[in-house]
Symmetry: C2
Subunit: 233 residues, 2 copies
């Protein structure tokens, strides 16, 4: 049985430190969690991780506070921290938020004087995702999908909104990790994202909003189908 310390020891050296050690440790855990090497629901033990990252327990605890505040892990008093389990209610909440926020980005893009540039860079992201799809690298496809929608919200021009949305997408990645077959989820969205770029390029607001909405509705039902039958309600 592989311990968490073993798993982490692979991907991590002496902790690159330009920032504080706690932040560096948090970043190490962030990437490990996002990559799925720390499964949702698994416990993160202070002592093991502190040993693996070669930091003190106190520093490790500071890192835990950061991750808990970001929603990546859950802190249970006197029981420890666990990689967040996203259930049905969390997925519903995430998509309720996306349905509110992403249209703001779409409107901002079409209302911007630099609409052409924005749409072009969005097109680049989809192109990269399509290349990854033909190469069969569905993990990259998922990453590009997330990047695509992050860019949309970014266009709204609100730092608060962008920060919140980045956190939401990190949470969403936790849900993606529970997918047994990434291809069936991500493949249809590639076409939808391309379609959105097209209607954005044509300056068609109504059609763009429709595409976003159907994308989100589709994604939510697909995710719920997978998450719903999991252990957690």
């Amino acid at each position: 049985m592989t311990t968490q310390a073993d798993v982490l020891a692979l991907g991590i050296q002496p902790l690159a430190r330009r920032e504080s050690t706690a932040e560096a440790a948090a970043q190490a855990l962030r990437s490990q969690i996002s990559a799925g090497r720390l499964a949702p629901g698994s416990q993160l033990r202070e002592e093991h991780l502190a040993a693996a990252l070669q930091v003190s327990r106190n520093t490790m605890r500071e890192a835990f506070r950061l991750l808990a505040h970001e929603g990546l892990v859950e802190h249970a008093l006197h029981r420890g921290v666990f990689v967040r389990m996203v259930g049905v209610s969390e997925v519903r909440a995430m998509y309720a938020t996306r349905r509110l926020v992403e249209p703001l980005g779409v409107r901002a893009i079409l209302g911007s004087p630099r609409a052409g540039d924005l749409v072009a860079s969005l097109g680049d992201v989809v192109t990269a995702a399509e290349a990854a799809a033909t190469a069969g690298d569905w993990h990259v496809v998922g990453t590009q999908d997330i990047e695509f929608h992050r860019a949309i919200v970014q266009a709204a021009g609100s730092t608060h909104l962008s920060a919140m949305f980045s956190g939401l997408l990190a949470e969403l990645r936790l849900a993606f990790l529970r997918l047994p077959d990434p291809e069936t989820l991500h493949e249809p969205f590639l076409r939808r994202n391309r379609g959105l770029v097209t209607s954005l390029g044509a300056g068609d607001l109504e059609k763009s909003l429709g595409e976003i909405d159907s994308y989100l509705a589709d994604a939510e039902t697909r995710l719920l189908a997978v998450v719903g039958d999991g252990s957690r309600p």
Copy 2:
């Protein structure tokens, strides 16, 4: 000269603890900061505060991480934590966000089957604020103003959005603290909030959106006028 420890000693006893000590310490600082007893820009020294709250420095540092992540304090590596200084750019960013988010709440209220209840409870908040205004308690007026707009966003039904907005409002309170004369800022908004409740009650979407927009534009210019001449750009 009064030290931070002195100031804090007034409002804080042995730390009511139902949650972790770090969270309790963070909550103590939150209330002190929001009440203005810890001025923006002032440094929060580990040792003094740990002594005042009777916690260890380690626990204090965990609390600092939480507050820094919420944006209430700023963490400067190897220099310490300081109560956040909101400047012109921060105020602009906050109102850019509010202009995007609050209309979502307004639309949600008018589109809700329980619109009547929602508007009624908003009216209660304004009524409470009006009572506080006649009593001359402008701090309460400011609190109710914040509560009013928090309730609007809450109606949008997104936990992520509500959480983000609560953080934004806490940040906004930091800006309010720099006001030499709270009455001149808060007094006009009392009427505007009442006007919004009226147009919401009438079910007039366009007018409601217009009221929100002019409220935000007015509030931003007033705040910028005060914050702009401060020490920070």
